[in-house]
């Protein structure tokens, strides 16, 4: 354990320090080439103690653990024609709760910008459009310089979560998903654009895996009309063909499309946003994002009815089971209306809001209609350095012919910001109540919570500290009452021997007290953290 801690700490921090010194001082070193190193190392050692008859309920790893997170970035800082940056994140920990590996490379990436465009190697966020590509990729991306307002991007790589899965079998790994994608995007005046996306993915099972393997071809088309601050309209369509190779079942292939259009408009006192989306049952995107088998729409409107007063009129709806293959079709309609009054009663800091929302779901079976009706009242104000808020929500949750619940949620909060000489104080208090009454069974489940604390900066030279206390109570019909008491203390000391470094210490005591004593457990955590910056 000790060896591991020392190894992780010294290797990472000394590497940072040495590289930093080299970059600053050594002739002909990185600085001579116009490179700058920056980074951060966070070393934490903590001790988790769990006691009580119900200790198995805790998710904490018992005993002394450590975690070291190192981030380094080396980038060109000169006035060269080509800019570049190399980034690396690594984690060392013996706590399996934090990472499945003791030492792991979390990220490595190299980006280079030049007149010819941009090239990225390693980790990057492949983000074409929602339907086509929206995933972290490990591989290579090239984006060419715009020519006649046209930009081309080509991507090749793998949709892998972890680097170590590339050279050894991961804990949860079942597939290798290769990605090849290209995008052509034309941008015109007033933020208009047209883009075409082509994405191929192919899954290869890892040794012995029986997971479903997808082979996808997707073509997407995105657009935005010329717009100004009064009106903008944009949309996206994608068509996907996916073959699904099943190890112990019949293979299948699916073809489907996804389409959406969204608009935002402003006319006089009226502001509106609307969206419509239709994703067919068989549309599959392996590295994009979509909810299949769904048609949905929404409209949000805000109308200024008087000085400081806005009327809110919103509605959304959706239906599933578009091709009728599923057992149930569900249609949901959810209208919402309300008023927002800013600077109410000529008080600039007073804001009031009242809203009513209904949600009605009708199943094709006909017997499972659900109606939720909720009303929300919100108030917020400021008195000098003190902010306050009050929220109340009443919900009527009914399933026709079955049960009805009335739910009341009440929340109250105060937070402040005070300066006493050099000391900054930020106190806060929050209290909330959640009562759920089941009318059918005539039972109540209730939860109440009080949460308060104080953060103080510069209470002594270089020293800041915070303390918070949470106490909650829960009662449920026919079950245990539970009281939870949490203390959380932290302090931060900016060390004088190295500018930018800090030493932190924390203590947390979390007690869960059930009316059945055999469930009780207590978690006590001590933590010391050293953060070094470059």
């Amino acid at each position: 354990m000790t060896k591991e801690i020392l190894c992780a700490f010294y290797v990472s921090t000394l590497a940072c320090a040495q590289l930093h010194a080299g970059a600053k001082n050594a002739p002909g070193s990185l600085s001579g080439q116009g490179a700058a190193l920056s980074g951060r190392n966070r070393f934490s050692v903590y001790d988790n103690n769990v006691s009580g008859a119900g200790a198995d309920s805790s998710f904490l790893t018992r005993g002394l653990q450590y975690q070291n997170d190192l981030s380094l970035t080396l980038d060109s800082a000169g006035n060269t024609n080509a800019r570049w940056a190399l980034a690396l994140d690594a984690r060392f920990t013996d706590d399996r709760r934090m990472d499945s590996k003791e030492a792991s490379l979390q990220r490595i990436s190299y980006d280079r910008w030049s007149r010819g465009g941009q090239i990225s190697v390693g980790d990057f966020y492949g983000n074409f459009t929602q339907y086509s590509l929206n995933q972290n990729i490990k591989g290579l991306r090239w984006t060419g310089q715009k020519i006649a307002d046209v930009e081309v991007t080509v991507i090749g790589g793998m949709a892998k979560n972890r680097w170590d899965e590339l050279w050894e079998r991961g804990e949860f790994e079942s597939l290798n998903r290769g990605v090849e994608a290209a995008r052509v995007r034309w941008t015109g005046p007033m933020a208009s654009e047209i883009g075409a996306q082509l994405v191929f993915t192919g899954d290869r099972r890892t040794a012995g895996s029986a997971a479903d393997a997808y082979s996808q071809r997707l073509f997407g088309f995105s657009w935005a009309l010329p717009s100004n601050s009064d009106l903008s309209i944009s949309g996206e369509s994608a068509w996907s063909g996916a073959g699904i190779d099943r190890q112990a079942a019949e293979d299948s292939s699916k073809w489907g499309g996804a389409h959406k259009i969204s608009a935002r408009a402003k006319l006089g006192r009226w502001r509106s946003a609307a969206e419509y989306e239709n994703v067919t049952t068989d549309f599959i995107t392996t590295i994009g994002a979509a909810s299949s088998d769904l048609r949905r729409w929404l409209a949000r409107n805000q109308i200024r009815v008087a000085a400081g007063i806005d009327a809110l009129i919103n509605a959304s709806g959706y239906r599933n089971n578009l091709n009728g293959r599923g057992q149930d079709t569900v249609r949901t309609f959810s209208p919402e209306g309300g008023l927002r009054w800013s600077a109410a009663f000529n008080r600039p800091t007073l804001n009031l809001e009242a809203k009513i929302r209904q949600r009605r779901s009708i199943h094709s079976g006909g017997t499972a209609e659900q109606r939720n009706l909720s009303g929300v009242l919100s108030l917020s104000d400021q008195w000098g350095p003190l902010n306050g808020s009050l929220d109340y929500e009443h919900r009527n949750e009914a399933r026709v012919g079955q049960q009805r619940n009335f739910r009341d949620l009440l929340g109250f909060g105060l937070s402040g910001f005070y300066r006493v000489q050099e000391i900054t104080l930020r106190p806060f208090v929050k209290w909330d109540l959640d009562n759920d009454h089941n009318e059918t069974a005539s039972t109540d489940n209730a939860a109440a919570q009080a949460y308060f604390g104080l953060a103080a900066e510069n209470i002594a030279p270089r020293l800041s500290a915070s303390v918070s206390r949470r106490r909650s109570f829960m009662r449920q019909a026919g079950g245990d009452d539970v009281i939870n008491k949490l203390w959380d203390l932290r302090c931060n000391y900016r060390v004088p021997w190295r500018e930018g470094d800090s030493l932190e210490a924390g203590f947390k005591d979390n007690l869960n007290d059930f009316s059945t004593g055999s469930k009780n457990y207590r978690e006590t955590v001590w933590e010391v953290v050293y953060v070094s910056r470059l």
Binding site: F59, V152, L198, A213, N228, S316, S361, L409
Partner: protein
Amino acid sequence: MSAGFNFGKVLVVSLLTAAALQPKAEAGWWIFGKSSGRPEIMKVFVGGVDLSGAENKFALFRENLQDGNLVVKAFFRPASKAPVAQARVSVDGGTTWQEKVTLDGDSLTLSFTPQEGKSYELRMTVTDTKGQENDPGDVPRVQFSYSRESAESVAKRDLLELAKLYAVRDLRGFVSRIAADYRGDRSSLEDALAGDFKTYRQIDMAVTPQLVLISGPEAKIRFRYNMSAVSAADGSVKNASGETELTLRSENGSFKLAGMQYPLIFGSTARSDENPAAGGVPVDTNSGSTLSGALLPGVVTGNADVTQTSGFRFGTRSNAAPAPGSVDVGVNFGGLGPYLLAYSGGSFGYILNLGYMDLSSVSAITDIGHMSESQAVNGNTYAVLTESGKYAVMQITAINTGASTISFRYMYQPSGSPRFR
């Protein structure tokens, strides 16, 4: 199995598309009426952020700079036959005016070095050769500030804040951190969150960011989570842990929740007909596949139904009235159901939603969690640890809400081993 990649095909399609997209677009009739008697500022970008879609106050980060400078770029439309001759830009609400404004055709550019923490307010005027100025209302009245922090560290901080709001069951606080253009049904997510806080009354959550990558205003963040919660149904403590991803979008100075992938940690009690996740097909699952495709000797397979009044016991392949000690799984169509329930009369009785995958994909269960109930989603597969300590995997083939029946196919390992293949 791997899709064959034809680079030539990509190149040809790319070039053809590029050629097809060449026509020049002009502002059309669909632009809401502005008189053509004076020049008009149509679009303004600050650090790459489009002001027409920006909140009243927003923050810019290190990534928004170009060579250490913040670039303000605006596109305008001159009045007919009167080109723009002069442009003025102020970043302090009109108190002082910047001198180094570059005019280039139908656009202007200003580049300046921002100060951290300082609040900026943009004003802009363009004047044509007839001396006419644009309408001051062309430029949205927004304030922005600059932070030397990277967007990545802000995204990490906002993820921790989301988890904290969830843990203290602050519904309104959490909802305020959902992006306006959330991918999926926002009101479904709000209802699912309310359902979470109804199902789980005391929540302890710890998240550890692993990989954060930024692209434009969006961040993709992968993290490990550990959660324990007291169930409102029976007062027992439930645990869940694993890895998942969120998409965050920069709005109003912070990153807000714009999308989620399975496994869900926020809104996990969403009803079966809703999908607040809006993610792709997962590559890795919580259930690893480790052996060959053939079923191990002794593994039992079959089809079965459960109803509100009839649960199922894998060991005897029989239905019975749902009660601990009598059945392994049941279903609850009440409340915001349907939910699958794992009954526990002994030490175990857990169920884990593996998401949309085929039963045949599962070779072994490597992680079961400690949840005894899970939303029932047609097509999804679930890992079950029965109360007698035996493993089963079930895939829902039909949900009939009218008859309150769930049909599923399953495989059951009577040996106690978590391996099936």
